[in-house]
């Protein structure tokens, strides 16, 4: 695996990559795997809970929206960087988001039928230090979560 750098060029100290099929049963697996990998930085219980929740949001969006409950792959990349910085990238090759700004608004959802609250991006934003969304219609979406751990 080639070691890349995070956007603001903090050196990557450890890295994990995994690909999972877009099955809802893997939501728990994905957040647990990210949490287990980050445990080496001794995060607080609250930091870990927040990160798990943010990852769960992004992974669920791949399953529910990107692939609309049909087959596809979700790629997760986790980088632990100097300065106790965690970057988690969640990538799908699904339908893409036509208007990212609108999608990120609290309560916005394209799936009201499915009992969605439209709070996924809001949760990611409040539980992480930064959330980047790169999306192309028909190509897919990459969500990049950054969280700095304290202590």
């Amino acid at each position: 695996m080639t070691r890349t750098r995070v956007d603001f060029s903090a050196a990557v100290e450890n890295e994990m990559e995994m690909t999972l099929p877009a099955l809802s049963v893997n939501e728990g697996m994905a957040r647990a795997a990210v949490a287990a990998f980050c445990a080496q930085l001794n995060p607080t219980a609250v930091e870990l809970a927040d990160l798990k929740c943010a990852v769960s949001e992004a992974v669920t969006n791949c399953i529910v929206h990107a692939y609309r409950e049909s087959a596809g792959d979700i790629r997760l990349n986790v980088k632990l960087c100097e300065g106790r910085l965690v970057q988690v990238e969640i990538r799908d090759r699904g339908c893409g988001i036509p208007d990212v700004r609108q999608a990120r608004e609290p309560l916005f959802t394209t799936d009201a039928q499915g009992e969605r609250s439209g709070m996924g991006f809001t949760v990611m934003e409040s539980f992480c230090d930064s959330v980047k969304v790169h999306s192309r219609v028909g190509k897919g979406t990459t969500v990049t979560l950054l969280k700095r751990l304290h202590r």
């Binding site: 728990g28 669920t60 709070m119 949760v123």
Partner: protein, 119 residues
């Protein structure tokens, strides 16, 4: 190994039904438990429903959808629904979503120490 299991059990006290969740509430488990809960609610139509969340170890926005959906269902048949004793991490996401403006959040005396603590 696969951990996103959620369990649900029911208790009735007079006109109140307490639906107690434990484990993890995400999209996977929400879809799993939703039908069973709705069948139970529609069959018994309890005037007061409490979603007891003290045993919930994880919840994301799919849990918000699950709660709002049950709130709407109970409201439709003329009942009332409240959330009871949310675990700290659950309370955090409920407040983030402004859920308390729509659905009452109650704390029983036995769980009072959790009140207002958030995280």
């Amino acid at each position: 190994m696969i951990q996103n299991k959620s369990r649900v059990n029911y208790e009735t006290h007079g006109d109140a039904m307490v639906i107690r969740f434990s484990g993890e509430i995400d999209h996977h488990s929400a879809v799993d438990v939703r039908t069973g809960i709705d069948e139970k609610l529609m069959m018994e139509r309890p005037p007061r429903v409490f979603l007891e969340l003290s045993g919930v170890e994880f919840m994301d926005s799919s849990g918000l959808g699950l709660i709002m959906g049950r709130f709407a269902l109970v409201h439709r048949y003329g009942g009332k629904l409240a959330v009871l004793d949310p675990a700290p991490a659950v309370q955090k996401i409920l407040l983030l979503a402004g859920m308390e403006r729509m659905i009452p959040i109650r704390y029983s005396t036995k769980n009072q120490r959790k009140e207002g603590k958030g995280q």
